[in-house]
Amino acid sequence: MAHTLYPRGTVKKIVKAHSNRALSRDVDILIFLHYALFMQELVKEASIASKQAGERGLSARSVRKVREGCLRGFKG
């Protein structure tokens, strides 16, 4: 992996903007882990939904259908 897995600065900026608080040094890694878990579940649910709908691959519609539930599941 020549390039980093994700842009750390961007994640920090985003979270800082939303929380209006400073971030400790390595929090963004854990946050990204959390995000990765979220994405995993999102993709899983979306693929299930798209298969149920008879669509090929991941469709935007299935993601839209699924994302609210996933976001709710990941709510603190």
Partner: protein, 524 residues
């Protein structure tokens, strides 16, 4: 005896001759018996009655020779001797004997024809046949008219109340609305085709009250009401909330790039405008079951709206938006230094313009509405730019109107805003999560899921938007955890608490315990 027999025969012959027509029937025989038998018999009976009955019996039994003569009529004679007392009794006995001796004939002939039972049976059969079919036929007929009758009144009742109640007031209302609303639209339309929408949206946006902090607004609006408004406006929280909601809407409507896609913005604006229009119309008819009163109320209400608002409107909508942008820019920090001056200058110009306008509105009556302000604004210096905005950018973009001075100044700022278009609830700009990362993650997970790894553009856009939502949610939650911990810095413990929370939620969401355990192990 022989004489009597002869007489009988003669009489019988006479009667038979008289009743020759009936000769064939049983009636004829009976009539012969009735007419012929008594006359010769009565003297005979008397003689017999005088003589003791027991002596007579043995004599008669041998004297059965009569019976062959008389044929059927002679048979009753032995019964005579049994009860020869009175002629009535004798006749009754004869009739009984005949009835007893000739049962078959009578039953076969008379009884079936004449008995009332038979008649009644025939009647009953006929009536039963008739009645059975008759009963259902009238019932069906009754049912049919009942249904038809019920249906008809129902239909009549249904439409009668519904149609006049709904249609009449609605039509009246729309007509009235059209009367009231039409002139402003028409006045607006020739000037600026898109302005109608913008005007409605501005009226909606007025709630922002971005007037804050502008001295010129203070001067222009010295009225005590304005002070109250300004005091209200002074509260930063309200402004922020209003702006925040507004901004949030924009995000939701246009996820990332409002500036780039003008067409999408127009669509959104139209939708919002339609919503606003529909909302108004809905509100009016909802008031309306009593159409006239509702109309009256609307008439009274509308001018009040436009009275109070238009001065604020024009001042606020623009200046507010620009001020908002100014605030954002200030919060943004050092980036915008040079542009702020431009923005303030532009805002100042607009304020002056608006300052002139509200005075005119106050002088004018209802007729002026918000439109005068628009027109006056058009008269002002920036006509070309304003029209350009209105043509391109719709009312929602008023929040973006800061762009207009920016456009004047440089396009660099527009580019910069594209990058950091999103603005958080706290007024911080932030970039949307990079699509490349999302794509790599999603493709990896999709492969692991076994489905084809290809992700279309639409899906990727939705995923990026979803990830933005996710980070927004996470940021708020992490801030809440940190605040609960009394810290101003978000630490790892907060994130772990969040993830544990997710695990618990996950247990509720899905029946699988393995996944949360795995994640716990990952965390630990």
């Amino acid at each position: 005896m022989s004489e009597s027999a002869r007489k009988k025969q003669r009489v019988g012959s006479r009667t038979s001759e008289g009743a020759a027509d009936n000769s064939g029937t049983i009636y004829a025989d009976l009539q012969r018996l009735a007419t012929a038998a008594p006359k010769p018999v009565t003297p005979f009976r008397r003689a017999v009655s005088v003589t003791p009955t027991p002596g007579s019996r043995p004599i008669r039994t041998p004297g059965t020779g009569r019976t062959p003569r008389g044929g059927p009529a002679t048979r009753p004679t032995p019964i005579r001797r049994n009860a020869p007392t009175t002629p009535h009794a004798i006749r009754a006995l004869r009739e009984r004997a005949n009835a007893a001796r000739t049962p078959g004939r009578r039953r076969s002939g008379r009884t079936q024809r004449e008995t009332p039972r038979d008649i009644l049976r025939d009647l009953s059969r006929v009536l039963a046949r008739d009645t059975r079919p008759v009963q259902p036929s009238p019932q069906e007929q009754q049912r049919r008219p009942r249904h038809s009758a019920l249906d008809l009144p129902d239909v009549d009742d249904g439409p009668d109340p519904a149609v006049p109640r709904l249609s009449m007031p609605l039509e009246d209302m729309y007509d009235d609305d059209s009367f009231h609303e039409a002139p402003p639209r028409q006045s607006l339309l020739p000037n600026l085709p898109d302005d109608v929408d913008n005007g409605t949206i501005q009226s909606l946006e007025f709630g922002r009250r971005a007037i804050s902090e502008d001295p010129r607004m203070m001067f222009t609006t010295r009225v005590s009401e304005r002070f109250a408004d300004i005091n209200e406006l002074g509260i930063d929280g309200e402004e922020y909330e209003v702006d925040g909601t507004f901004i949030n809407r924009r995000r939701t409507l246009n996820p990332d790039e409002l500036l780039e896609d003008v067409a999408e913005e127009d669509l959104d604006d139209t939708t919002t405008e339609i919503r606003a229009l529909t909302g108004r119309r809905d509100g009016r008819p909802s008031d309306v079951d009593l159409g006239v009163f509702g109309e009256m109320d609307d008439d009274t209400e509308e001018p009040t709206f436009r009275f109070t608002i238009p001065p604020r409107m024009q001042a606020q909508a623009r200046d507010g938006a620009r001020e908002d942008t100014q605030e954002r820019v200030q919060e943004m920090g050092a980036q915008i230094d040079g542009d702020e001056d431009d923005i303030q200058a532009g805002a100042g110009e607009d304020q002056e313009e608006t300052a002139v306008i509200p005075g005119g509105d106050d002088d004018d009556d209802e007729g002026s509405f918000g439109i005068t302000g628009w027109e006056s604004e058009h008269d002002n210096a920036d006509d070309a730019d304003l029209q350009a905005y209105r043509g391109e950018v719709s009312a929602f973009d008023r929040s973006l109107q800061t762009q207009s001075p920016e456009r004047r100044a440089t396009k660099q700022r527009a580019d910069r805003q594209r990058r950091a278009l999103n603005i958080s609830r706290f007024g911080h700009e932030y970039p949307s999560f990079p699509a490349a990362t999302v794509k790599t993650l999603a493709t990896g997970f999709a492969k692991s899921q076994g489905s084809k790894a290809k992700i279309s553009k639409d899906t990727l856009a939705v995923l990026v938007q979803t990830s933005d939502f996710f980070f927004e949610q996470i940021g708020e939650d992490l801030a809440a955890y940190a605040q609960h911990g009394g810290r101003k810095v978000i630490e790892e413990s907060d994130v772990i608490a969040l993830m544990k929370r997710y695990v618990t939620v996950y247990i509720y969401c899905t029946d699988v315990y393995i996944c949360p355990i795995r994640r716990l192990t990952l965390l630990s």
